[in-house]
């Protein structure tokens, strides 16, 4: 049943996807010329999380499988590069070149994805959610306790940097270019997959698994493929993250990373790469920017606002039995707000699901699925 939204969607002018990717790449490269290291570091994180988001998007957005343990694959990639790429790691003597470790990490991620998916994917979706949640924790606990491989909570550092023609990747600008290239490759691969026979099978499974199976789609096989693809991309992100941060320890791989990636996919718009990038910019970029010195300087100008607020709080406290805490100095507001980011993420997840379930920047097909009401029979004209 066509409604106003589908008609509007069909007639709207839309930039082709390669155009969007070119703009993204262009903005990234140009920003290298104008921004200093703290800003590039922020852009690195945004792009890294956008890449992770594209991976999770295949699993959640395209195939409709809720994976709450995405951090496990991110950790796998990071640990492969750290254990074989750092002289300090106890289990392996000598180091291997990063460009050999990178594909190994991706393969390891895909392998672990298959291993985990195999028992659970034939079951219904919600079990997958809880098993992946548990698995993410298992990986973290294993990393914490297998001191002989991972050095436990002391972590692995001094990881060999990736070598290239001119030297090695060690400046944040070089890492940013690296992750930008990775993001472009992942974007290309996931968009080609989405538009292929495989992608159509994923979307069919997402819409209705029983019907998809009835149409002759091997649902378990395609679900496994989606899961392994997402896992491989997660591991790729981890492999790039390890030499950048140069400290791989279990405390970096808690549940909150999975939640972060999930939130940016959902809030940005499932099934849509531009939405994922926008989600990463909002959910990763904004909290980082809030902690910048520039932000603190800007906020310091609002000292008068704080004084005014504190005067009223004083008055209110004197009049009533309430004991309201006074506001911190204006220049600390950014840091404080960044601290509360997960409260906002949680609330946003609920709000987006209830008010705009297709995300802020939805893919058109996704929007149709979420915004229509399938349970109501069509009675009479609308």
């Amino acid at each position: 049943m066509p409604n106003a939204r589908t008609l509007r969607g069909r007639t709207s002018l839309k930039l082709p996807e390669w155009g969007q990717a070119l703009i993204f790449l262009g903005v990234g490269l140009v920003s290298l010329l104008f921004l200093d290291a703290t800003w590039i570091r922020m852009l690195f994180l945004v792009t890294l999380y956008a890449t992770l988001g594209m991976g999770l998007n295949v699993v959640v957005g395209l195939a409709g499988l809720l994976d709450l343990g995405f951090v496990a694959f991110f950790a796998t990639g990071a640990y492969v590069v750290a254990i074989w790429g750092a002289p300090i790691s106890p289990a392996v003597t000598g180091t291997t070149d990063f460009w050999i470790l990178l594909p190994m990490a991706v393969l390891a991620g895909a392998g672990i994805g298959l291993l985990l998916g195999l028992p659970v994917l034939p079951l219904r979706g919600d079990y997958l959610a809880i098993v992946t949640l548990g698995f993410g924790e298992i990986i973290r606990i294993l990393a914490l306790n297998m001191d002989n491989f991972t050095r436990g909570s002391s972590g692995i550092f001094a990881i060999d940097k990736p070598q290239y023609g001119l030297g090695q990747v060690d400046h944040v600008n070089e890492f940013f270019v690296m992750v930008l290239i990775a993001a472009m490759i992942v974007w290309f691969v996931t968009s080609r997959l989405r538009d292929s026979r495989v992608g159509r099978a994923w979307e069919a499974i997402r819409e209705d698994e029983d019907v998809a199976a009835g149409m002759g789609i091997d649902t378990t096989k395609y679900k496994l493929m989606a899961f392994a693809t997402g896992a491989a991309i997660g591991a790729l992100g981890g492999a790039i993250y390890a030499p950048f941060i140069d400290f791989v320890a279990p405390q970096s791989f808690s549940l909150i990373v999975s939640i972060n990636v999930l939130a940016l996919v959902i809030i940005g718009g499932m099934g849509n790469t531009t939405g994922v990038i926008a989600g990463a910019a909002i959910l990763i970029g904004v909290p980082e920017i809030l902690q910048f010195d520039e932000t603190a300087n800007l906020l310091a100008r609002f000292g008068w606002l704080r004084d005014a607020a504190n005067t009223s709080i004083d008055g209110l406290n004197a009049l009533t039995t309430l004991d309201i805490t006074k506001l911190p100095p204006a220049e600390e507001w950014g840091d404080k707000l960044a601290l509360y980011r997960f409260i906002v993420f949680g609330a946003l997840l609920v709000l987006v699901m209830v008010l705009r379930p297709s995300g802020l920047f939805p893919s058109r097909r996704r929007q149709l699925e979420f915004d229509s009401e399938p349970t109501e029979p069509v009675t009479g004209g609308v």
Partner: protein
Amino acid sequence: MTVLFLASPEFWADQFVNGMTTGSIYALIALGYTMVYGVLQLINFAHGEVFMVGAFAGYGVLTALGGDEISGAMIALSILIALLVAGVASMGTALAIERVAYRPLRHAPRLAPLISAIGVSVFLSHLVDDGFLSGEAKFYPTIFPTGDLALGPAAITYLQIFLIGSSLAMMFLLYWTVQKTKIGRSIRAVSESRDNASLMGINVNRTIVVTFALGAIMAGFAGVLYGLFYSSIRGSMGFLPGVKAFTAAVLGGIGSIQGAVIGGYFLGLTETVGRELLNEIPGVNLPNQWKDVVAFSLLVLVLIFRPTGIFRQRATKRA
């Protein structure tokens, strides 16, 4: 390094009692998962946070009544009040969650309420941890009379007796409510088929609300017991017991009340006794955290081989 079965019978008896203690808490929380899953086929991811709210409500009551200063007859009274208030607070939280995050999504695609539930869970745990406590833990006052009772080779503390006994009483009360009262009958009817129940004149919305309320009361109760036993509480405390209680519910066959209780005790015992048994193998010395690995591995194994639960004979479409 330990040698095979060097540990004394007393040791094993103590481990058994410890297993029963954590098992009681898992079982109480698992009831909420299993009942909500029964009526809505929804994993209530925020149930662990409902449990957390109960723990904090109980903490608030006990501190307000004097904290460590509570003594004599006031102890029993203040714990009773704490349990009641916690039950009400958890119930209020669960009903608010149901109204805001689940009910608008009842006819949405399956993924939507799950994601919304995760949102609530993240929101609540971080609201308490980052918003109110700046990442610090709170500690329950240690008011419960210490001392223990020798029961065969085992020494059970008074607190453990109270914990296990009151949990069993609550579970029995719930079982009775579901099996013998009118509202219990509507819960069972809605679990069978929401549409048919509605055709039989059952108010489905009200039944769902009551189901959430009953499960939440159990969770709030478990929260106070957890606080009394482990002392330290924080906003993120609901996560692990939540996942494990869900595991317990799956072990016993999700949707089944007896199953959740049995699954809870089974998991509690497997964790404590199971880890110690593994530690009996020469050369093995597993740290405490391995009990989490045991629990999750159990979950995966059960899902592979007996997705309808260990004890369930009837195959359901739910798995």
